[in-house]
């Protein structure tokens, strides 16, 4: 199992979530986050904004589904044809165990 953490633009959450649902990945957790990336934030006039609001999506998926999930997120969270700075990042890390609380069973 792998944990997919995707940091994306807040306005892209709706379309990404509905596309994940129709691709058969309903389970997702969303949290509000603030951060900056390699571009050190955004400069508007004289003001530097380095705490840019983003949404983080957390999904735990089977190893074989990781590429599909990442592809869907990258396709629909991108702005414009070739994407722009600030479209976000996706990180993948290993998960050793998973439990469902209601049934107390192991596994996804």
């Amino acid at each position: 199992m792998l944990l997919v953490r995707a940091i994306i633009r807040p306005e892209k959450v709706g379309v990404v979530l509905s596309e994940l649902l129709s691709a058969g990945f309903p389970a997702v957790t969303k949290m509000d986050v603030y951060g900056r990336g390699k571009q050190k934030g955004v400069k508007v006039g004289e003001v530097f904004y380095d705490e840019i609001p983003k949404e983080m999506l957390l999904m735990v998926v089977e190893d074989k589904d990781k590429d599909d999930v990442a592809k869907i997120i990258m396709k629909y969270a991108r702005t414009g044809e070739n994407g722009n700075f600030g479209d976000g990042r996706i990180f993948v890390s290993p998960v050793e165990e998973a439990y469902t609380i209601s049934t107390k069973k192991k596994g996804l």
Partner: protein, 127 residues
Amino acid sequence: MKEVMAIIRQNKVNVTKEALAQAGVPAFTCRKVLGRGKKLIDMTLLRSIVDSGEIPATPTGEYLSEAQRLISKRVFTMIVNDGDVDKVVNTIMDVNSTGNPGDGKIFILPINESYRVRNGETTTEAY
């Protein structure tokens, strides 16, 4: 060290806190999150309330029908020693299990290193 990430119901935060403290693993971080699981949310009840006019159709009604249909949850993050993982998992499952879908999930992730900010020591005891 392992990270235990538990997504639980909002109204179970207090009992979980208490149970974990009694189990001897008091350190945790809790966050408000929104999410959905494998089972789709049954919106028929809410939609019938909106249709009957009890809630004004905008903006609540539109939100219920259009938006992403996520449920408010709390995520507990705890960094524990390898030996404590089973204890923590069992404690969380015991107090949070109502037998209904929506009770939540627990994930165990590896943690490579940890540092204590106060004195910079790197230790397996720094959970």
